[in-house]
Amino acid sequence: MQAGERQGGARVPMLVWVAIALVGASALGGIALRRGETINSLWFIVAAVCVYALAFRFYSAFVAARVLMLDASRATPAERLNDGRDFMPTNRWIVFGHHFAAIAGPGPLIGPTLAAQFGYLPGTLWILIGGVLGGCVQDFIILFCSLRRNGRSLGQMARDELGPLGGFAALAAVMTIMIILIAVLALVVVNAMKHSPWGTFTVAMTIPIALFMGIYLRTLRPGQVMEASVIGVVLLLAAVAGGGWVDHSPTLRVLFDFDGPALAWMIIGYGFSAAVLPVWLLLAPRDYLSTFMKIGTIAALALALIVLRPDMHMPALTPFIDGTGPIFAGKLFPFVFITIACGAISGFHSLISSGTTPKLLANEADARMIGYGGMMMESFVAVMAMIAACVLDPGVYFAINSPPGVVGADPAAAVATISGWGFPVTVEQMATLAQQMGEASLFARTGGAPSLAVGMANIFARLSGDGLLALWYHFAIMFEALFILTTLDAGTRVARFMLQDLFGNFYAPLGRVSWMPGVLFSSAIVVFAWGYFLYQGVIDPLGGINSLWPLFGIANQMLAAIALCVATTVIVKSGRARYAWVTAAPLTWLVIITTSAAYAKLFDAAPRIGLLAHAADLKAKAAAGALPPPMVKQLPQLLFNDQVNAALTALFLLLTWVLVLDTARVCFRALRGLSTPPFTEVPYVQSQLAH
């Protein structure tokens, strides 16, 4: 408690903290022990807020004071290297806004929605515990490491502190995670737009709106970002309403009615254009729009949940914890920890924490609020997504999210299977819901976006009346698609830069970001790579999410493991090895879950889990003539997909272990006083800024 008291604890008396702890404990106890028909979502909000408040007040204060020894008198890179642009001391609330907008993407919305198939309890506990002991700590400590190293990136720090092997592993991990991430997110958008003229029209309109904003900001009113953003948001809302009009017109609706493969090709084409077009034209204006919508909608959702306190219908635990779940296969352990990466611990954040954010901080002490606090906010978004998924009738939730390969393509068969699991749902109920939402069908709309949109529409419609359900549904779809596409085009561009950097070593002109053939060549390779996985997901009879989302989760957790390896090495080398458990404990947990998940994906005997078992099963069925004709035609590709996914999983496993062993080696040598790569912290300089 001492460390906490020094950090301004006098403002809130200890008695209040005891009360918060008691309220939080009873809310958590209520969530865990409740076995009624429904549970009110207020329990979750209260439990989450208490957990975050206590963790921030005590644990982050301990990490700040004892482990990292944050020093407010030490000049930050923003102060020392101030160039007025990249490095610039900035107000801490503004940095917080930038940082949160950068880390919070579609991940914390989708992961919990999918993990709700286990019931609300496992996912919620992992989001809260994993968040405060894992994700927040990772973001905070990587931000600190980068702050003390002139804002260096994770890859550079891995190379400096661990050696070339660590640097290479980090680079390879970032590259592969980017590819898988883009593919799986694109798949989510495809599934949300499949045979939905309203959704497709609205999402398509975001492109001309962004182009208009780009031209507006470039030539009509240069630099007037706020003006352009307001115009953009108004146009976006008009596009949501206009989609309804398109949907009702028999001639127009066919123009926007596509199947999965067609949409996949369009997104591939879009990704390529976004990677090669100038940023001011498409990427930057899209990003302004998506940030605006993201912050606005998340705030609105939080407000609506607090005001309405909807009841949740999902049980605490479902029978699917045994690994037979329809949405993704695999047992509760380790798959709940893989499915929810963003929101609990997400390795990708370490790229942001060692990217723009450390170059803006004016005061080193603010790293706690921005690194630890920013991730707490994201974790709260994940809790809200979990609530939105569990507000739905479980039968409806499973009907929307289960792929036809598991429950049957025919609605009657699907409802029979799902009702048979003990989650009653009828064809009529689904038809009414689809009609209310302005969709042709809501069966087998895998990927999480449609079910989250139904949940959000249900919540928002309580404020507006059921008449606006369809509008809210498509607003939510547009909101998700908007920032998924922003991640997609920004990610493609970053991967292109990384590839050009790599190619530049072999043939210098390829490394120049302005040489058009080099740009086209490397963009094409990146787009081909994620396009391959996207297409594989679209044609997969099990819906694609089943195989790609775990792959993404493993990749993201592996990147988190790499970040925690760097953090642990830095703590050990700084002479505070007795506190190394702060990062070593979450690291150990991540290594356990990624290793078990990767092992299950490779070698599990159940065809829905094990990739190799799946390939063998397909072959056996083909030999016995038991495959339906369209699958016979795709057989070679399906087998090849399994092999690619298996090879990738094996690569992840190998990279993780190489890095963990390398970290153990460097830490051991540091503890023994043997030679290690040098500790690269920049020496102390007194800050001249008055804090």
Binding site: N82, G84, R85, W280, C342, G355, N556
Partner: protein, 66 residues
């Protein structure tokens, strides 16, 4: 009376600062101030030029997460 008016003034100033941050005025003003203080020999870019260069620069790294 005077306390209330100073509170209003502060609120207006706060709102203005927020707006300036949103529409990019704040970043531009800060950059110009930095140039004047540290590199008086360099030309001061117009807001349009600044915005153009900033957009290019900002997109050369990881900006968005999952």
């Amino acid at each position: 009376m005077s306390r209330a008016s100073s509170r209003t003034e502060r609120a207006v100033a706060w709102l203005r600062a927020g707006l300036a941050w949103w529409n990019g005025d704040a970043a531009y003003a800060a950059f110009v101030e930095h140039l004047r203080a540290h590199h008086p020999e360099r030309p001061v870019p117009s807001k349009a030029e600044y915005h153009r260069a900033e957009t290019e620069r900002r997109w050369n790294g990881v900006r968005r997460c999952c």
